[in-house]
């Protein structure tokens, strides 16, 4: 993106830069009214964008097709509006009908689509022996199988972790900690990359580095 030249765009760029500093005044200094102003401004514009974009999407996928002859679309339109009865305590039960459809579709699609990748494919990959890679590949093959079995046993919830289950469940928790550690490592990359983008923007607006 080239450095803007039009006046309104330059004003916009600097507005964004100043707003960024007001937000970072919270961690870099302390919670203060300027930060709170920007935070509430963000909630406002975010809500507005959500409302406008979702309104136009409902027009696109429901109202316009209905006006063009697909009269059945009146049903989801009414069901969708029924959800707002949640705001009126004595009619809250009316909102259960549209929620029932959302929950039913959510579980139906979720269950039928998750068993394959999360159970079958995961187990097949775990029990398929390595075709190459030598000793290390076989060690990893053993590690993943033992780890998966013991971690699954750790999540037994109605059997005490004692007796025969004590050792495998204790080992299982260690495998889980390794996974959470790797997850933490990847989270650090994600969070720092976003902040890096802001540091870059800070310098770009000051023209210390190219846009």
């Amino acid at each position: 993106m080239a450095y803007p030249t039009a006046t309104m765009e330059v004003i916009g760029l600097w507005t964004g830069w100043i707003l960024m500093l007001t937000i970072y005044s919270y961690p870099l200094y302390k919670e203060n009214p300027v930060y709170r102003f920007s935070e509430h401004l963000y909630i406002a514009v975010m809500l507005a964008v959500n409302l406008v974009v979702n309104f136009s999407n409902v027009m696109r996928i429901c109202v316009t097709p209905m006006m063009q002859g697909d009269f059945l679309m009146i049903v989801p339109l009414i069901l969708g509006i029924m959800i707002y009865t949640m705001l009126i305590p004595e009619y809250r039960w009316v909102s259960r009908y549209p929620i029932a459809i959302l929950v039913g579709a959510g579980f139906g699609l979720g269950i039928r689509g998750s068993i394959g990748p999360n159970i079958q494919d995961a187990i097949v990959s775990t029990i398929t022996r390595p075709t190459d890679g030598g000793a290390m590949a076989w060690i990893n093959f053993l590690y993943i199988a033992v780890g998966l079995i013991s971690s699954v046993l750790y999540f037994l919830l109605t059997y005490e972790h004692s007796g025969a289950l004590q050792a495998p469940t204790r080992i299982g928790r260690l495998f889980i900690m390794v996974a959470l550690g790797a997850y933490f490592g990847n989270t650090v990359l994600f969070r720092f990359t976003m902040l890096t983008g802001r540091a870059q923007f800070f310098l770009q607006v000051l023209k210390l580095i190219p846009m």
């Binding site: 870099l28 964008v49 039928r112 689509g113 990748p117 890096t196 870059q200 580095i209």
Partner: protein
């Protein structure tokens, strides 16, 4: 309260971090970048004989403005690669600022999109919501969730979309996510119909995604901005991700040092106490 270093005001860390992130932009270091297998599988899956001219590919912008630095470089390289293979690219996304991300892609892959023709080589369908139901419906009947493209043009009036309406007509899906939408493409496209799929998302998805690449659910995977830098290396065009890698190196070194110092403090304190 343990090691005296433990009482340093946290704002000291924050200033050190923010300044440390800026320094490499002012004078780059340029550490070498090794390419991971999962990233190479992704790149090979969208180039050369993996893609035929006229193949239809979906790119899902599953990220918003805040995750541009993390996801956008990888998406830029993949969009360039697909357009250069003559593929037809469908662009879409579940964030209310997806229009901004689309315009940003037109800017970061400018030459390729200028050389391409809207409606024949690529199309921007725009915003989608509705979770798993929406992605399942996209597989069965695109026109039920996208009667028009983002610019209110009926899909039937867009040349490249003439006979494209279900998963049958799509050669592959690339999803770049901060949240669950890539998972919906997995459960509603790859699992039931075997449509080839890859994830180009945030680094956190590297933990859930790598086991899926190993199990064959994904044909490839790019993990966060590091994956974006590797893709920029593979296509031979350094971009934002490679530029940011030096800052990532500095900040990552700092956090490991911080963890080590904290735990050395803990050991010293235990030694003193015992």
């Amino acid at each position: 309260m343990g090691f005296s270093l433990a009482n340093i005001d946290r704002r000291v860390f924050y200033w050190i971090l923010f300044i440390a992130l800026m320094v490499p932009f002012l004078n780059p270091i340029g550490f070498p970048i090794k390419i991971a297998e999962n990233t190479r599988d992704l790149y090979e899956g969208i180039t050369e004989d993996s893609v035929e001219p006229g193949d239809v590919w979906v790119i899902n912008f599953g990220y918003g403005v805040s995750a541009w630095p993390e996801c956008h470089p990888g998406v830029t390289v993949c969009a360039k690669a697909l357009l250069r293979e003559g593929a037809h690219v469908i662009l879409m996304g579940p964030h209310t600022d997806v229009e901004l991300t689309y315009k940003h892609l037109l800017d970061t892959a400018k030459e390729d999109f200028d050389a391409a023709t809207y409606g024949e080589d690529y199309v921007f369908l725009g915003y989608i919501t509705g979770g798993e139901s929406a992605i399942a419906q996209l597989a069965s009947n695109m026109r039920s969730v996208y009667p028009t493209d983002h610019f209110a043009t009926q899909l039937d009036d867009i040349p490249m979309m003439q006979d494209v309406n279900t998963w049958h007509d799509v050669s592959g899906v690339l999803s770049s996510d901060t949240g669950d939408w890539g998972g919906y493409f997995l459960t509603q496209w790859q699992e039931p119909y075997g449509v080839p799929m890859a994830q180009i998302g945030i680094a956190m998805l590297g933990s859930t995604g790598i086991p899926r690449w190993l199990a064959g659910n994904y044909f490839g995977m790019s993990v966060g901005s590091r994956g974006g830098a590797e893709l920029e290396m593979l296509i031979g065009e350094p971009g934002d991700a490679i530029i940011a890698m030096d800052s990532i190196s500095v900040s990552h070194l700092l956090i490991v040092i911080a963890v080590i110092v904290a735990n050395v403090g803990l050991l010293l304190e235990r030694g003193r106490r015992s």
